[in-house]
């Protein structure tokens, strides 16, 4: 396409590629998918990981209940169908962030293996890296922590379909990383995550 003499704008046909975005950001895009029981430590680890990546000049974004359930997915409830659609949309949005070159960190219980596998496949089909992190804490310990009082409510029958109480959690069988949060400190968990991101070459373009 001809360049206009009047401007200093040049462009050519063809979209910017994911590879060009990566180079520009100095990193590769990836989805870090945290899965685990309520109170297992997903969000705490996600928050700490985002901080540590920022300290290193890397670019991340967290998708969690706060910015998804009250926004994109506010028209979804807790039926089986809506739960699957909830995770499907999160997988699609995380994929867009990874394609944009960011480190997308999702922290949702995501209890069903089939839903998680669908998110993994979305990324694989697009050639985008995907890291499943099993944030593993025995339910007795999670229930003892219970920072939001949800287990207590579920035990009292005030919450129905609560994962680990009256709805199943299907533990990952082959996660990229398995964090026993009853045995590891937050710092140790984040260190393992960073090591994995570095090992896979994701923290450079």
């Amino acid at each position: 396409m001809a360049q206009q003499k009047a401007t200093n704008i040049t462009w050519h046909d063809g979209a910017v590629t994911a590879q060009e975005r990566r180079k520009n950001l100095g990193q590769k895009g990836v989805t870090v998918w945290m899965t685990g029981l309520s109170a297992s430590g997903k969000s705490t680890i996600a928050v700490a990981l985002e901080q540590v990546l920022l300290q290193r000049g890397k670019h991340a974004y967290r998708l969690d209940g706060d910015n998804i359930r009250h926004g994109l997915n506010k028209n979804l409830g807790f039926s089986a169908e809506d739960r699957a659609e909830n995770i499907r949309r999160i997988g699609e949005v995380a994929k867009l962030f990874a394609d944009a070159g960011l480190i997308a960190i999702t922290s949702f219980i995501s209890p069903y293996a089939a839903d998680r596998e669908a998110a993994r496949k979305l990324h694989a089909d697009a050639g985008l890296p995907y890291i499943e992190v099993y944030v593993d804490c025995p339910i007795a310990e999670a229930e003892k922590r219970d920072p939001k009082g949800l287990y207590k409510k579920a035990r009292a029958g005030q919450l129905k379909g609560f994962t680990g109480i009256d709805d199943p959690y299907e533990a990952p069988t082959n996660p990229e990383l398995h964090l026993r949060t009853d045995q590891l400190s937050i710092e140790q968990s984040v260190e393992k995550l960073l090591e994995l991101l570095e090992q896979k070459g994701l923290l450079k373009a």
Copy 2:
């Protein structure tokens, strides 16, 4: 929270803020919302804008039919309800990108003023910049271009509810930028967009 001696990881309670992400990226997050008829030039301008931003080391991401209709919104059709939900989800996702600190560029016909106003309000409520760009081309000219043969199909009755033919396009009454693409070159349109982004201080942290 106490620091582990064993690691070089330090973190504190409290999530990374949008302000910190901006500083890290050297820019502010914003949604650039292109609206206009089919073949008005939205996607061409979006592609060119992304290229020019990348040349300047800025970080953008385009949301368009290719990555949305076949992904996040693949379970939506073209009923009035689904069209509204299509634009609602795009608004929510663009908002997440703007919150992440990126320049989100959306290129969808988005013919209804109410849907566009909802997207604008989402951003305003979150304190995120939002720029509506009316990509304006007389329908006679758009129909002459017709790169995908869609107007021809619509005129032949093979496409129902086609914007500008048998479905209305509600032109923006107060867009941040009004581009007459029958009078401006792509380069001139992109230059106007760049000027506006600079004027608003969005290309620095």
